[in-house]
């Protein structure tokens, strides 16, 4: 892809103004200790390390270093990601906006307080996996009702994709969109009733909560 690849972290820092820390969380302190003396106030450091707080990052770097925490999710690779940015003490609003624009090809990019990052992890980081589970279950349902598996999976994926687009692009409340699909006495009303009986809403809230709590826990370590 034309990127210069080196073994030297220092070389990356010396040749770049914007530096992404894309190592696993347990390696962050080692890496930062190694590059710290090369970091200037002009550098912008963006950490994608899950659970590593701005406070931790700032402590490992020279004072008043510009640090931003970023939480992306898997579909970023298809330019349909959901990214939340949280700015450190020395990262100005301009830097935040600049980064937001820069990252916009990833998909949806928003800036928020660090306190929201864990919830974002639970919602859209793990949320992608929740959607995969739902897709698999939809397909299983269709297979139970007589459809071949591979076709069921393709249709399930397209159904969720289509629904996602409607949610994003109509700007309507999901409850409104649901009402619009729900013909009186029709199939959807019956299906939704079964979902409600199965407690899908509570289970989903529980899931986001559990993932968020775990993110918080990991952040405390």
């Amino acid at each position: 892809m034309g990127v210069v690849v080196t073994h030297s972290n220092e070389e990356v820092v010396q040749h770049s103004r914007l530096v992404f820390l894309a190592v696993k969380p347990h390696l962050v302190s080692t890496v930062l200790n190694g590059i710290s003396k090369h970091v200037t106030p002009q550098h912008i450091l963006v950490s994608i390390a899950a659970g590593v707080t701005l406070e931790t990052l700032e402590q490992l770097l020279p004072s008043r270093s510009c640090v931003i925490r970023m939480m992306p999710n898997l579909p970023c690779m298809l330019q349909e990601g959901a990214v939340l940015l949280a700015c450190g003490a020395a990262a100005s609003q301009e830097v935040g906006s600049m980064l937001k624009n820069l990252l916009s090809p990833c998909g949806l990019v928003e800036v928020g307080p660090e306190a929201w990052i864990d919830a974002h992890t639970g919602l859209s980081g793990s949320g992608v996996a929740f959607a995969f589970v739902f897709a698999e279950a939809l397909a299983d349902g269709a297979v139970k009702m007589g459809m071949p598996s591979s076709l069921a999976h393709r249709i399930a994926a397209q159904t969720i994709l289509g629904a996602g687009l409607l949610l994003r692009d109509t700007g309507k409340h999901p409850a409104q969109l649901r009402a619009e699909v729900c013909t009186p006495g029709g199939t959807t009303a019956y299906g939704l009733h079964a979902l409600e009986k199965g407690g899908i809403r509570a289970a989903t809230v529980d899931a986001v909560e559990a993932a968020t709590e775990r993110a918080r826990e990991l952040g405390r370590r």
Partner: protein
Amino acid sequence: MSVGFIGAGQLAHALVKGFAASGVIATHKIIASSPETNLPTATALRKMGVNVTTSNKETVSRSDVLFLAVKPHIIPFVLDEIGPDIEERHLIVSCAAGVTISSIEKKLLQYHTAPKVIRCMSNTPVMVREGATVYAAGTHTELEDTKLLEQLMRSVGYCMEVEEDLIDAVTGLSGSGPAYAFTAVDALADGGVKMGLPRRLAVRLGAQALLGAAKMLLDSEHHPGQLKDNVASPGGATIHALHVMESGGFRSLLINAVEASCIRTRELQHLADQEKISPAAIKKTTLKKVLQQPGVTGVTGVGVPTGISLFNSHNSKQKGNSGQD
């Protein structure tokens, strides 16, 4: 224009109270009949200035709009009794859950060529002029008849014409609905009391919360889901409570309730269609009182141990056996 009620129970009382409050009709132009003169509702009606009698026939003769406000299984019994007295001017409005227009028309056609029948489903908050009423018009009903009913029912709340086959669902939703709400407020109040509020205050606040929410919703163009979101601040008390409700299956519980009420209504209709009332369904003393009324020619088969078969009455007046489909 005079209004009559066959039956002086909860529904008659609620409707009269609403009509009186709205001023759509003066209470002295209302007459209600019931074999039980000691019913608390009958007493209340009398206090409001309504003529309360024990004679259904008197009610029929002194009214233009005739509400059938008795329990569904009593309807065929009443229709047989008053059938011969129905005139051209009468507009029969049945409020009985599950009783179809065709079953009522079938009975009345034995006595009259073009009985005007409307089936409606209302609810008790008509009493405070916040009722929810739907109606379906029968075969021989004219536009002016439905307009008259709308005028009456709109004075006590919402009123809309619907297809007859939706009325059972309406019963499940807004017919039974106030009972769901009473239960909800009672339980909310229990929650308040548990958390330290005095009972009276808790009930008041619970009721006001539901009232306010309903008003907001009716005045808003937004989906209730959106209004819910507007109340639930991030990480706040409400969203925690909503989660608890979802975990308890709140939504599916309500769906189940509406469904159960609707299904039961259809069952009642089916039972009524079978046109046999067991003697156990009517009090012996009530039956005696009705038979004692002047002008009531005994309904054949009444009191016979095998049951009251209402299509066997007045055979001499029928050309054919109209009891069969």
